[in-house]
Every structure is written in structure tokens, then in C-alpha cells.
């Protein structure tokens, strides 16, 4: 938070924190509930759970880390970082799944 923005008020921060915490608790509860649903395969469940986890992460990063009102420079650095993480994970998985049939045994 820079000085140019509106001054920090402890009361407002507490209110914001209470909201974020409530949301995180709800999201976590929802995740746990989803994981115990008897139907669906693991693939569907994992997708839903990770989607909820992303929302959770967004709440923490966006509000608690002030990422929603951060400077352009920080966005640039994080943008490249996220791009490279996706590249690392994505290309590695593509490469290990892309073997010609019959060459890998599991």
C-alpha cells in the first residue's frame, strides 16, 4: 500500500479480514464436502477441488497480499513467473506423455 492511496484504517482492515476469513472457511468446507461426494470419478473431483483452491488462493493473494492493487512492475514479474511455471509443468507433461506407443511401460 503506498502513501498515495487512501490511509489504512484498522477497523476497515478488520472488516475486510473477517470477510476474507469467512470466505476462506466456506471455500475450504466446500472443498472437503466435494472430496467426500460418493459419485463422480477422481478426475472430476480433482478439477472441482482445484478450482475451489484457486478461488481460495485468489482471496489470499488478492486481498491479504494486496495483489489487486499492486504496481505494474510486480504484475510483470509475476506474469512471467506464472507463464514459466505453466511452461515447465505443461511441456514436461507433454514430453513425458508424448512417447511413441509401446516405448514406455508403466
Amino acid at each position: 500500500m503506498s502513501e498515495s492511496e487512501k490511509p489504512v484504517s484498522l477497523k476497515d482492515t478488520i472488516r475486510l479480514c473477517a470477510l476474507v476469513f469467512a470466505a476462506v472457511v466456506c471455500a475450504t468446507g466446500l472443498m472437503i464436502y466435494t472430496s467426500f461426494l460418493p459419485h463422480y470419478g477422481w478426475t472430476a473431483k480433482v478439477s472441482i477441488i482445484l478450482a475451489i483452491a484457486t478461488v481460495n488462493a485468489f482471496l489470499v493473494a488478492g486481498y491479504l497480499m494486496h495483489l489487486l492493487s499492486e504496481k505494474k512492475l510486480v504484475y510483470t514479474v509475476l506474469g512471467f513467473t506464472v507463464f514459466f511455471v505453466i511452461g515447465l509443468a505443461g511441456l514436461t507433461i507433454c514430453a513425458t506423455n508424448g512417447f511413441p506407443p509401446g516405448t514406455v511401460s508403466h
Binding site: 500500500m1 476469513f21 509475476l78 515447465l88 507433461i93
Partner: protein, 267 residues
């Protein structure tokens, strides 16, 4: 010699040095945990069918830890806000809470680790598997000389695959009781440490590395709360910045847990 922009913001970037520094550091941390999560995905996708464990970890304890960390993230933010409005007393209280929550997290974590180290899978000579928590080893228990016996609280299965999905109806139905197993019947005995299989390996490594981050963060917060807080009197703005920067690290550690929890405990 004064290094510029230690407290005030550089006009063209809008940041002070330490804030840029910590974001750069966090970027490298994102790559570190990104590499580990990639490894997790690759190992899980590459696992033999039916051999990736489900439900091996205690969801209740994991959920409590999730809430503890979320709460500590909030007290961290409040500690910073208290510094920002120059309320030193509240700062002390909030960050004391942070540290207590962090220690509680580590306590629960070590209890979970202990539970895994006491959990044994024993391959028996008749081809079945005994699985359960160690109750006691007889005084003369010696695997090499085949003397004595070990007592487990658990059950016996025909196929290792039955041990993989503890959420399955069969596993839920299984009856656990005290089993006394003579050393002479044991082919191989191994606890659920990191060496047990790929899941425990990645679980211990990632949660261990996360716990080390928690420990490091707690030490930093303790320093800033205790001896380091003298700076509040001489240079409150710079001190507030330090609280903000350490808080960003703390939030990042929370962020890692937000993904670790579902990936390890829930799926």
C-alpha cells in the same frame, strides 16, 4: 552512504526496495514450488493404475491446519495495519497470535508425521499384508534373527491395492483389531515414512519443505516482534515496511498450503 528508496517509494516504479526484493524472491519461490507441483503431477499421472493412494491423511487435522494458517495470515495483515496506524500495542498482540498459530500448525504437523512413522505395512510370508499402527514390539523382537513378535492395531489384506484407497467402501468396512505378528512370519516390514512409496515421498518432501518455510517465517516474525521491534521507535515507517515484507512472505507460505492441502489430503 545512504542507499536511496529504502523507505520512500521510487517514483517511476512506485515501490520501495524491499518490497520489490520480496516479490522477486516470491517469484523464485513460485518457481520452486511450481517445480515440486510439476513433479507431483508427473509422478501421480505416471503411477501404476490403482497404486496412487487416496485418503491416507487425516482430513480433520489438515482442515484445522488450514484454518490455523488462514487465521495467522489475517493476524499478520492486522499486525501490519496496526503498525501503519502506529498502534504498537495492537501490533504486539496480533503478531503474538501469528506466532502461536504457527507453532500450533507445526505441532499438528509433527503429530501427523509421528502417526505416519508408527503406521506399518508388513508383508507376510504367506503372501498377505498386515497394515496398522504399532502397539508394541516385544523386548526380544529382532527381524534378522526371527525372534519375538510385533503387535499392530490394524487389519490384514490379500492385495496391497486394498490399502491404496482408504475412502473406498471396502476399506471403510474393514475391521481393525490387535494383531500379534511373530517375526518369523515377516517378509518385509516398513513404516509409512518417505521411503514407503511415491506418495509418502512427495508428501513428506513438500509438506516438510513447507514446514521449513513456516519455521523460517516464524523466526523472522519473532525477530521483528522481539529484538527487531526497537526500530519502531527510531524509524517507524521502515519498521512498518519490514512487517509488510515479512507478511508478504507469510501469506505466500499460506498460499502454498492452500494448494498442498487439497492436493495431498482431499484427492
Amino acid at each position: 552512504m545512504e542507499i536511496p528508496y529504502t523507505t520512500e517509494h521510487r517514483p517511476d516504479t512506485g515501490l520501495y526496495n524491499a518490497k520489490l526484493g520480496v516479490w522477486l524472491f516470491l517469484a523464485s519461490e513460485v518457481m520452486l514450488f511450481g517445480g515440486l507441483f510439476s513433479a507431483y503431477v508427473l509422478l501421480r499421472v505416471g503411477a501404476e493404475p490403482g497404486m496412487w493412494p487416496h485418503g491416507w491423511l487425516n482430513v480433520t487435522l489438515g482442515s484445522i491446519n488450514t484454518l490455523l494458517l488462514a487465521l495467522s495470515a489475517i493476524t499478520t495483515l492486522l499486525a501490519w495495519a496496526a503498525c501503519k496506524v502506529r498502534d504498537f500495542g495492537k501490533f504486539k498482540i496480533f503478531h503474538a497470535c501469528t506466532m502461536i498459530l504457527a507453532i500450533a500448525f507445526l505441532g499438528i504437523k509433527s503429530y501427523e508425521y509421528r502417526d505416519k512413522f508408527l503406521h506399518y505395512e508388513i508383508a507376510l510370508n504367506n503372501g498377505t499384508f498386515a497394515d496398522g499402527h504399532l502397539v508394541e514390539k516385544s523386548a526380544d523382537f529382532d527381524l534378522a534373527n526371527k525372534t519375538g513378535a510385533v503387535t499392530l492395531h490394524g487389519h490384514i489384506v490379500e492385495d496391497r491395492k486394498e490399502l491404496m484407497d482408504l475412502r473406498s467402501p471396502e476399506a471403510q468396512k474393514a475391521e481393525h483389531k490387535e494383531l500379534v505378528i511373530p517375526a518369523a512370519d515377516i517378509k518385509k516390514m516398513q513404516n509409512y515414512g518417505p521411503w514407503h512409496n511415491t506418495f509418502t515421498a512427495i508428501y513428506f518432501t513438500m509438506s516438510g519443505l513447507h514446514a521449513l518455510h513456516i519455521l523460517g517465517g516464524t523466526l523472522v516474525i519473532f525477530y521483528l516482534w522481539g529484538p527487531g521491534s526497537r526500530m519502531y521507535k527510531t524509524d517507524p515507517e521502515r519498521f512498518t515496511n519490514r512487517i509488510e515484507v515479512s507478511g508478504l512472505f507469510w501469506h505466500f507460505v499460506d498460499l502454498v498450503w492452500i494448494f498442498l492441502f487439497p492436493v495431498m489430503y482431499l484427492t
